[in-house]
């Protein structure tokens, strides 16, 4: 993998605070039913952050908050030192679900170009700037070769690259990627994560990546936001992914096991809590046992 050598950087200890996202006693939920609360975290510029947690723990809700699509129930959240607002050009977003499927007979290039200018009203007189930006974004994700192919004909991995280009085309400073790995096999997942890491490191972009398995990501991460049981644990992977910290988060004994390659399995109560056993190229889906560990509410 090309970007494998560039791991997480050591946080600059004495540098001035350059928080991109700051949450203070943040409470999140729908119509008075909190999904999680009392979250305190601060994400610095250029950090690669994994957002991990069981289904319904409020991972997508966190993104909706950051995008200004959903208000917090309590506490404060700031993005680029201001309350989140919808339509910020500094944020690139890849949602979990797309309306694109095998019937979308539109070439990829068009979607990427719309990522640059699709929100503008009126008829463009010159399309040079957006065309150049779209080519650049497609090249950055290694997708120039399928620019002219219809979206309907792409594989899962290729589609994720196009979505990433669509998010990158407006040159954002913050990337929000919602479950981009969920439909990819392990090899493609690792390729995509390597690509995102390369972008984070080379452009100083801050990236949040929602995933249900931390293992393909772990070598690159600066920080983990672990959402579970209505609460959020934040810190470096070494801080968060320990038996002590996760036991505290879940409120019951949880054990974090590591194999010889550094892969992680999280076990609690009667079985797996979250995360999968990953050995070589074999990928065992871990069953979510112990329903009591699932965070409440909708996500």
């Amino acid at each position: 993998m090309s970007a494998a050598g560039q791991g997480p950087r050591t946080p600059p200890s004495s540098a001035p605070a350059t928080s991109v996202v700051r949450a203070n006693r943040l409470e999140v939920g729908y119509r008075g039913a909190p999904v999680w609360q009392d979250a305190n975290f601060s994400i610095e510029r250029g950090e690669f952050v994994a957002v991990i947690g069981p289904n319904g723990a409020g991972k997508t809700t966190l993104f909706r908050l950051l995008l200004g699509l959903h208000p917090p129930l309590g506490g404060t959240l700031s993005v680029f030192d201001a309350p989140p607002r919808r339509g910020s050009p500094k944020i690139g977003y890849v949602p979990q679900r797309h309306t694109i499927d095998y019937e979308t007979h539109v070439r990829c290039f068009e979607l990427v170009r719309l990522g640059f200018s699709g929100h503008r009203w009126g008829f463009p007189l010159s399309r040079r700037a957006e065309t150049e930006a779209a080519w650049e974004a497609l090249e950055a994700v290694g997708g120039a070769e399928f620019a002219d192919r219809p979206l309907s004909a792409l594989s899962g991995g290729e589609l994720q690259r196009v979505f990433l280009a669509e998010a990158l085309v407006s040159r954002p400073e913050l990337l929000l990627l919602d479950e981009p790995l969920s439909n990819l096999d392990l090899r493609r997942a690792k390729e995509l994560v390597g690509l995102v890491n390369g972008i984070v490191r080379s452009r100083g972009v801050t990236a949040f990546l929602v995933a249900h398995d931390i293992n393909p990501l772990i070598q690159y991460l600066d920080r983990v936001l672990y959402l579970a049981n209505g609460r959020v644990a934040s810190g470096t992977p070494q801080e968060v992914l320990t038996s002590e910290s996760l036991s505290q988060l879940y409120g019951v004994p949880v054990e974090v096991l590591r194999d010889s390659r550094g892969n992680i399995v999280i076990v609690g109560g009667e079985g797996h809590v979250e995360g999968e056993l990953v050995g070589g190229e074999d990928h065992h889906e871990g069953e979510l046992a112990g329903g009591g560990f699932r965070g409440g509410g909708a996500g």
């Binding site: 919808r86 679900r97 309306t99 694109i100 068009e110 979607l111 200018s117 009203w121 192919r149």
Partner: protein, 305 residues
């Protein structure tokens, strides 16, 4: 009227000596262009059934207008815009609730039938022209009204085209970029409502698909660039309308029949040729795999046992 003479220009000149043919060609051209463009967005947003339903609610409106002695186009516009905005306000998912839409659609047809029955005058001709279109009966005033609707629609489309395309392809990102999905949905449905009301004059409520959906469905199969696809969609709708009018000059059958048949034949031809190309491609690939396998076998077994 004279017979078909193999002199195309002469034939067309002959036709255009009649005022009703001039009006039919003028209105048909404007409507085909609008239907071609709006139809592309309808196909991309997968709102074909919603567009079809709009036409049906328009039937009740047109019949009501006939009953009141008003121009049916105004009844069409009123009913399609109101039901279109209602559908859009209920959210995008509402436009995909086939059962509910179908329920309202059937009721609207029934309502239209009642209005037609209440009307004392020529029941059959009015119903017939609303359901199946009567382009040859279009008046000069109606052509002028169609031209006005055409200009307004194109101006609005020029403003909303990019956001509409964006939200059709990637609604969540469009919303995150600050676009109002609700507003775009309403604008889209209003565009469809006006386009449908125009197209009903040519092909009627029941055959509106043939101008609003089939040309665009052909176009998306031929080009994956929105600009080209829209051009093809317009071209197909225009070609079918002109050819339909031309043939109907010589044959005693309705124009809408010819238009629907032409677009359907084109659609079949495109689907068939693409299926054929795909089959040929697969066969080629399969053959290259077997030849590669044979080579491999020859290598691993040089004595050829």
């Amino acid at each position: 009227m004279s017979a078909f003479s193999y002199d195309l220009i002469g034939d067309v000149q002959q036709m255009l000596r009649y005022q009703f043919m001039v009006h039919a060609f003028e209105a048909g051209t404007l409507i085909a262009i609008v239907a071609g463009i709006v139809g592309y967005l309808v196909v991309l947003r997968r709102s074909a059934f919603a567009a079809h339903a709009l036409a049906h609610t328009g039937f009740a409106g047109a019949a009501g207008a006939v009953l009141l002695g008003v121009n049916p186009v105004f009844g069409l516009l009123l009913f399609t815009t109101v039901s279109g905005s209602a559908m859009a306000t209920l959210g995008r998912r509402a436009a995909h609730r086939d059962v509910e839409i179908g329920t309202v659609l059937a009721f609207m047809l029934g309502l239209g039938l009642l209005f037609i029955n209440l009307y004392r005058g020529g029941v059959a001709t009015e119903t017939y022209s609303i359901l199946f279109g009567e382009i040859l009966g279009i008046s000069g005033d109606a052509v002028l009204l169609t031209l006005e609707a055409f200009v307004v629609l194109l101006l609005v489309l020029a403003v909303v085209y990019r956001p509409l395309l964006f939200s059709a392809l990637d609604e969540d990102v469009a919303e995150a970029k600050g676009l109002s999905i609700l507003l775009l949905g309403v604008i889209f449905m209003l565009l469809v409502a006006v386009a449908v009301s125009m197209a009903v004059q040519v092909v009627g409520v029941l055959l509106v698909f043939s101008l609003m959906v089939t040309p665009a469905a052909i176009a998306v199969r031929l080009s994956n660039r929105p600009g080209y696809a829209i051009a093809i969609s317009i071209g197909v709708a225009l070609g079918a309308t002109w050819a339909g009018l031309f043939v109907a000059w010589y044959e005693p059958y309705p124009v809408s029949f010819f238009i629907t048949s032409i677009v359907f034949a084109l659609y079949l031809a495109v689907r068939a040729s693409q299926a054929l190309a795909e089959w040929a491609g697969k066969r080629n690939r399969a053959m290259s795999i077997t030849s590669r396998l044979r080579k491999l076998l020859r290598k691993s077994d040089p004595r050829g046992t």
